[in-house]
Subunit: 276 residues, 3 copies
């Protein structure tokens, strides 16, 4: 492929307008996730508690912005000030939950549509991560951890508000903590935040910014599609296992075990499994 | 009644000073609600954990302002800066919980006093809803949803902090979510917010502002008194059922059921009831 | 002791630089508390969920600042902007949890080291309480309750974030509410806040500020060391019991009981114990 043309595409991706098509894709997938989270009782719940259903859905749609605003002392409700966006979000919710013979839901679940929407959502996610890192960097030029946290939260906000989202619907699942078993989206957003910070703050990445951005978009879309179509769920696992073995005790614990005098002893591991 | 005199009364209601009498009424009813929420263990609890008792009561008293401030990035503690108001609130708490032979509590439960205080609290509620809508409209002139949320929260803040209030007392009831079964106060505050927005932003309501305000005060007080004296608890229910039937699947679901091919099937409904 | 020399020491204590030695002491004790809170499963947990372990530890380290910022509409993440402090905190966490043959943990538990670090942490705590009161007093010159709340939260923030800290690790213990059974640190921070406010706002305390500050430091360190070395855990208990007897119903309830017509009756007390 012609590098000039490639850079051209990259520049266009950077400037892509999100509203309304990407918003529709994002909202549709959020509504599907809420509906799937409700399980077999989704229809009954949406009929009996439309307010709780709508509020928990809105929280999922605007999760990233709200949580990031809350942590940066900006108004948590600010993402709701854009009325056209709200109307689009509400319409999508209505279509997914309340259309006759469940047409909207069935359409959204139709594989080709789901694939296209998922790809669009990943492009949107990349933009959100980038915006989050840029915004945090403006506020705290040397707060690298803050940039990473905001970028990750903007990228996968819904993962971190899951407990609250379910609580709005009257369900409390304290063990479903994102931090305990971070999803692929969280890890990918974290890595993307790191790359954006390196791109912005250091000279390590010599490629033009548009290419870096486009590369991350491709990475996001590629793994999302592999996940839907091929069932590959988390390409980070081998790296994590390596990290854990090297830095977080793996090798030393094994050594200590072989030498027969270290922790964790068998009994302790069993205890731990029971208590956690 | 003379329309001039009526408008005059309306104008006086709009300018009514809240401190200290309306504050006392509000605090008394808050203390009663905390005490009733504690059930038969209220006395023992207030003796063993005065701090938790006082804090959860303060949260109930200042709930609306605190939650609204939290959502608008204003200091959550700001409602506590008014020392005379704090002193009044603390005195009321002390009288309700700790007077000898429980005199304060018995007096506050005495029907005529309760009726007067409830009416005063409703006048206060109306003012809070109006202040909330006005404040949000200043910050976000086109953020209609934000105005509604802030108005509703200011009107019935204690309903939304119930989980936190109980948590302060060491009790966790995740299913007691206001969004699942919104109380009459929440719905009335929501409707009042809507009317204030229509009055402020559109030309649909031609009556002078004082009359609109006074009309809402009368509506609040009237339904509160019906609730205490006649046991009518929620005049919104018929409208809600109509809305649900028309827009949230009611009719379509029935049609689909009759045609024998739609959801929710019998089994699904039963499942849903079990899981929720 | 020469009063001049004593004042000199006091002045030096006031100006003491906290970074990095006092930070190391603070972080070490935070890491120990997280590890002890995890119980016998600490090792296994730290190996399987390093991210949740690190995040909950960071929350403990920066709890006071984060909670106070959240309540004053300042950025919750702001305490994380100081990168050197973050690096120190992360290193300490690594040493306590992941050093081979658990060397770091064993060293930190070694009594003389623990005693020195505890004393340093108390000096740090005193500084935090003072900074909190000063900061709140700048924002709300007459908000005495706000000053007390912020001072107390800065002094023992970790006590108030315990629920959230455990939730990050997927454990939910709603009954472990600090307000129900305030720890000695909470009470001491509260008393220190009160003294700082009296010193700042009234003429009641005629001693120079440095002496007041130094007195509180000595009080904090003295009781911490008594707690570690002598097992005296809460010198406030007798005063509390007196307060409860005088003001929170104790005497009146006893009188009423003797006269045989007051609450709480035996049955009610038993009920209360069951429900709470």
């Amino acid at each position: 492929m012609d590098p000039e043309a490639f850079l051209d595409i990259a520049n266009q991706v950077v400037k892509l307008k999100m509203f309304p098509y990407f918003d529709i894709a994002h909202c549709t997938l959020c509504a599907l996730s809420v509906r799937e989270d409700l399980g077999s009782g989704a229809q009954t719940f949406s009929r009996k508690h439309p307010l709780a259903c709508w509020l928990s859905y809105m929280l999922v749609v605007f999760a990233g912005g709200m949580v990031a605003n809350g942590l940066l002392a900006e108004p948590i409700l600010a993402p709701l000030k854009n009325t056209p966006q709200l109307v689009v979000a509400t319409l999508v919710w209505y279509v997914i939950f309340y259309t006759p013979i469940d047409l909207g839901y069935k359409l959204a679940k139709f594989l080709p549509i789901k694939v296209v929407f998922s790809a669009m959502k990943e492009i949107y996610r990349c933009k959100k991560v980038y915006d989050g890192v840029t915004h945090a960097a403006k506020l705290y030029p040397n707060g690298y951890l803050i940039m990473i946290i905001i970028g990750t939260l903007k990228g996968n906000g819904a993962g971190f508000t899951r407990l609250l989202e379910r609580l709005i619907r009257g369900v409390w699942t304290p063990t479903a903590m994102e931090f305990m078993q971070p999803s692929f989206y969280t890890k990918a957003s974290l890595v993307a935040s790191l790359i954006f910070i390196l791109d912005r703050k250091t000279e390590l990445i010599s490629a033009p910014h548009a290419l870096v951005y486009f590369g991350i978009v491709i990475f996001f879309v590629y793994f999302k599609l592999s996940s839907i179509l091929l069932g590959i769920h988390d390409p980070f696992v081998p790296f994590e296992n390596l990290m854990c073995a090297l830095f977080f005790g793996g090798i030393w614990d094994s050594l200590a075990k072989i030498l027969g005098r270290g922790q964790p002893k068998e009994g302790e591991v069993k205890d731990a499994k029971k208590t956690n």
